[in-house]
Structures are given as structure tokens and as C-alpha cells.
Symmetry: C2
């Protein structure tokens, strides 16, 4: 399988590393809107191309992995490229997924391609676990906890406050809430009861720390509904201890079976990720494989993780999977 | 969807309850090799038929759910019935799955039917989680822990010992081993380090308790390789405290990502089941739905959980799933 990467930020770098770990894949090139000469990639002998040059390379690429952002890049890029290539993206603005799906589906069908959208961990593996768990346990309740992990959006919101030089925000699930859910108590949990927010902040010299802390803790939507802690640290400590991008969480379905719904059954899917973008990259690559196989069987249009037979994501043959993993 | 159940033990009863919880399904009948008049089912107005009468009811049944045992029933029954019906089974003799697949595939194709085999939790949901996790994290190690749960095979082995009136064996994962795996230590674990076996035994009057205990603990394959505890209890206590059929466990993949495999990523899927057969029944029913949909698109032959797009298992439409669960 010949893969192209569009965009070379943290996610694109993760995809490059993911391809290296797959013996059935080869990186053909990285495509960028920046000056290609300014982008250094790690795979020896693989070129960096300008974005527009990809349209002359249709025969050289089996699947394009789109590593742009969900806010502005992917809503335009995925439909545009789905007309010309099989593509996969990690579009993660949950509320806009149906619209994105429709836009991409029309263009993918126009071009006779497969386009897999919104893969990663949430949306992605968390989503597919919600679907499995609901299909198996139709009577029950869903719970999703996120963290411990870095929220980029919340970190950015803190950085925009006057007097803040740098910030990192961790979303942390409340252990007692997770325990109650796993015990099958089926609790109704408020926002505050599910997660806490831990903020590490580097203040500019002379900044009003009390005012920064208050601005964070009272920020609507982002922090006001949570128990939030603010810790001021030095830039050196920030760089040393908070440079990673960990994340994860768990999806739990607490269900009932039996003639009178008398039996408790609990399904939990849990991710503990040292690197959020590298994990997302690996899911993208497994879905790129699946998309290529689906296309080779004549399937076209927009797909999500719900439409993918899991065996299609594996490097291993169907017979070998049955013999070794079933 | 019109469903038939073949066999009415614990699993068949679970399937009956599972159908009751699904608004898109209807139970047409239970088929048994016993005298139909001797079998009382719980769904009002639904008849019990003799096994052979099903062959006159092909037009009345969309999917047959086969609830026989893996040792002797399913190896014969699933191929035989796959020629006449779309079927789903929970064949769980892991080593014989490839042979069972081939036998069933030939007959399903002959009859133009879909036959989904080996669904439940292991094989089944545990298997599909192994496939997902390996596809996403190609560099890594797999761990499966079973329990705390009742092992029917091990309980039966104890019951065959002279002087034993009743027995129940629980398989229990060793917490320290699970913790080491979840911490990303990638330990190599012996059989003894992974699970312990707890045996509750009712002895016949005058039986030699020391001899029973020794026979259990030294039994090859079943107990000799494990730290095994034997507790003698009364039949009353057995009936009161050990009548359930709980099980579960977790499938963990401890993987590495990044250019130099420097990043730890952990995927865990965990089931905590108060009733093993009722959970298996619910998976069978979700797969029956998927099989019916696959057949309606013209697909034929033997399938496993690896071949099923998760969305096909859900009662919810694809558009609704994208809007609510992605």
C-alpha cells in the first residue's frame, strides 16, 4: 500500500512513524502547504511535495492520510481530496460530523473513492466501543470519562489570558465516579462530579497571579462548571514535566440482562496513552488499510469506523486471524 | 426479524430474554431434541417445536440462533442448519475453529446463507478487541486475563472425583500481574503468575477430605500449574452463595509507538459479567441482526466477528449512530 501524508504536524509525524511499523505499507511522500524545502521529515529518501503537486500523482498513491486540523483544514480538505484519492481523516468536531459526512460522501462517490472520516480514539475507538456495547446491552447506561490527559483547547484558552506566558491543562476523571459506575450503581453524574481540571501556568513577570487564577476558574464552559486547580510553575518546570501529550479515558456501559433485567453486566474500554497524536496516527493507518481493501472490493463513499469490518484493519490474513486471535 | 432458537439450556434462555429486549426482533419458536411438551418457555404464545419440524418452517424464520454445546452439538448442527437457514453459533473450542469454519462455510455457501460462528465473549468480543488492538498497535504484547468467574470445565473435573457431591471452581486473575501489565512493564508471566483457582467443594458424607484436596491440587492441566485453594462447604452454602455463573476478564495490549518505539500506549477491554450465558446470548442476538443485514445485501458464507461491521450489530440506523455515538 502506497501512502501519502497531507500535513506534517504532530499527527503527520505520528503517521510517518506508524507507517514505518507496518511491513505492508510504504510512504510515498508528505504534502504540505508550507514551502516543501522548509519541511524535514524522518523517512530517508522520501520527498516532501507542495500541496498542489499531489494532483499529478494519483497513480502513485493508494491512500492519502489527511493530518490537518478539524477547525478549518479538514472541512475543506477532505471533500476536495476525496474526489481524487481514497482518504482517511480524524475530523473530531463531534457536532459537525453528520454535515462533514454528507459533504465527503458526495465527493467520494463522485470520484469513485472511499473516504473514512473521524477515526482516532474519540471519535474513533471510543465510538465503536459505544456502538458494540449498546448493541450487546440494549438496556443500560453509557459513561465516558476522559483523561488523565492534556486538553489542547483548554490549554489554549488559558494562554490567551493576559499575563500568561504558557499553560497546560489536564483533564482528570474523578476516581470515585469511575468506581461507582464500574460497581454498576448507574449514577447520574453532574459535570463537576465526573472530571476535575488541573492547570499548570507560567506567568509573565509582574503578572497578577490572583487575577489569572480567578479568570481561569470562572471561565464559562471551559472551567466554571468544574473543580479547577491552578498551579503556577516556571517555564523550566513546564518544559521538563509537561511537554508530553498524554491522554486516554474509558468508555463504560453498565447494562442489564435477564428476563426481568435482574443481571448486571459491565463493559469497559480503557485507553492509557502517552501520546494522543501518535495513537490517533496509528488508528488512521489501520483504517487506511481497511479503506484500501474496501475500495478493492468495489465499495465507494464516505465511511466511519462503524462501517469497517475489524479484520480489514489488520495486516494479518483472515484465516490467520481466525487461527490465532479468535 | 424473526428468530428461532435451537436448544433451550442456559444459553437458549438467555437468547429468549435478549430477544425480548429488542424491538426489532420476534421469537418464532424454540426447537428442541427433547419432547417439546416437556419444555416450558417464558415467551407467551410462542410454541416449542421438535428439532425436525424446523425444516418445514424455512419461510417463517430469518435467523436461527444455535444454542447447543461446542463439544458435540455445534460441530454437527451448525453445518447442517447453515444449509437451510442463516445461523449464528457460539462455538468456543478455540483450537477447532478453523475446521469448524471450513465445514460451516461450505454448507452456508451451498445453501446461499450467512453463518456467523464463535460469537460470545471469548471467542467473540475478546477476540475482536485483540484484532483491533493488534491492528492499531503492531508493536506490542497481548495479555488476556479471565475471571473472576466460574469455569464449568474445571467444576466438572472436580465433580468427577470420588467423594465429591458438588463443586464450583472460580478462575481469578492475579491482581499484581494485571497491574504490572497495565503499568506497561511487558512482563513475561507464567501460568501460575497469571491466575489462581479457587475451588468450593461439597463432600459426600464420610469422604476423605485430605485426599480430595490433594487430588484436585495435583490434577494435571487443570490445577497442578496453578496456586489452587480448596474450601469445603455445605450444599446449603453452595446453593446460596455459588449458584450464579459470573465471568469476565480483560484483554490488554501493551504497545509502543513513535519513531523509536519510545511511547507506551495501553488498550484494555474489560468485562464484568454476572451471567456468562446471558452475556453470550446478547452477543449472539446482536450478531444475528448483523447476519440478517449482511445476507440482505447478498453476502453468503461463514463469517466471524472479524467480518462484521459494528454498525450492523446495532438497532440504530447508520445516520443516527453517526449523530449520537461517533
Amino acid at each position: 500500500m502506497k501512502i501519502g501524508i497531507v500535513g506534517y504536524g504532530n499527527l503527520g509525524k505520528g503517521v510517518e512513524a506508524a507507517i514505518k511499523a507496518c511491513s505492508d505499507m510504504e510512504l510515498v511522500g508528505v504534502f504540505t502547504r508550507r514551502d516543501p524545502a522548509s519541511v524535514q521529515i524522518r523517512t530517508q529518501g522520501v520527498p516532501v511535495f507542495s500541496y498542489d503537486s499531489m494532483f499529478n500523482m494519483k497513480d502513485e498513491i493508494d491512500v492519502m492520510v489527511l493530518c490537518g486540523g478539524s477547525a478549518t483544514d479538514l472541512p475543506e480538505m477532505t471533500p476536495e481530496l476525496a474526489e481524487h484519492f481514497h482518504v482517511v481523516d480524524s475530523f473530531d468536531t463531534h457536532a459537525n460530523i453528520p454535515q462533514h459526512f454528507d459533504n465527503v460522501d458526495a465527493m467520494a462517490k463522485k470520484g469513485g473513492n472511499i473516504a473514512i472520516i473521524s477515526v482516532g480514539w474519540d471519535p474513533g475507538m471510543f465510538s465503536v466501543n459505544r456502538v458494540y456495547a449498546n448493541a450487546i446491552l440494549p438496556v443500560g447506561s453509557d459513561y465516558t470519562f476522559w483523561g488523565t490527559g492534556v486538553s489542547q483547547g483548554h490549554s489554549d484558552a488559558i494562554r490567551r489570558i493576559e499575563g500568561v506566558a504558557d499553560a497546560r491543562q489536564y483533564t482528570v476523571p474523578v476516581p470515585a465516579a469511575v468506581e461507582r459506575v464500574l460497581a454498576g450503581e448507574n449514577p447520574e453524574l453532574t459535570t463537576r462530579e465526573k472530571h476535575t481540571r488541573e492547570c499548570y501556568v507560567v506567568a509573565k513577570e509582574g503578572a497578577d497571579l490572583a487575577k489569572i487564577e480567578d479568570t481561569i476558574k470562572t471561565m464559562p464552559n471551559y472551567f466554571a462548571d468544574y473543580d479547577t486547580t491552578v498551579t503556577f510553575i516556571s517555564q523550566a518546570e513546564m518544559d521538563e514535566k509537561h511537554s508530553g501529550i498524554p491522554h486516554g479515558g474509558n468508555v463504560i456501559r453498565s447494562g442489564l440482562t435477564g428476563w426481568d433485567n435482574e443481571t448486571k453486566q459491565t463493559i469497559e474500554y480503557k485507553l492509557t496513552l502517552e501520546s494522543n497524536p501518535e495513537f490517533t496516527a496509528n488508528v488512521l493507518i489501520a483504517c487506511a488499510r481497511a479503506g484500501y481493501r474496501m475500495a478493492s472490493r468495489g465499495d465507494v463513499g464516505c465511511k466511519t469506523i462503524f462501517d469497517i469490518a475489524p479484520g480489514d484493519m489488520s495486516q494479518t490474513s483472515a484465516a490467520e486471524l481466525r487461527a490465532t486471535m479468535l
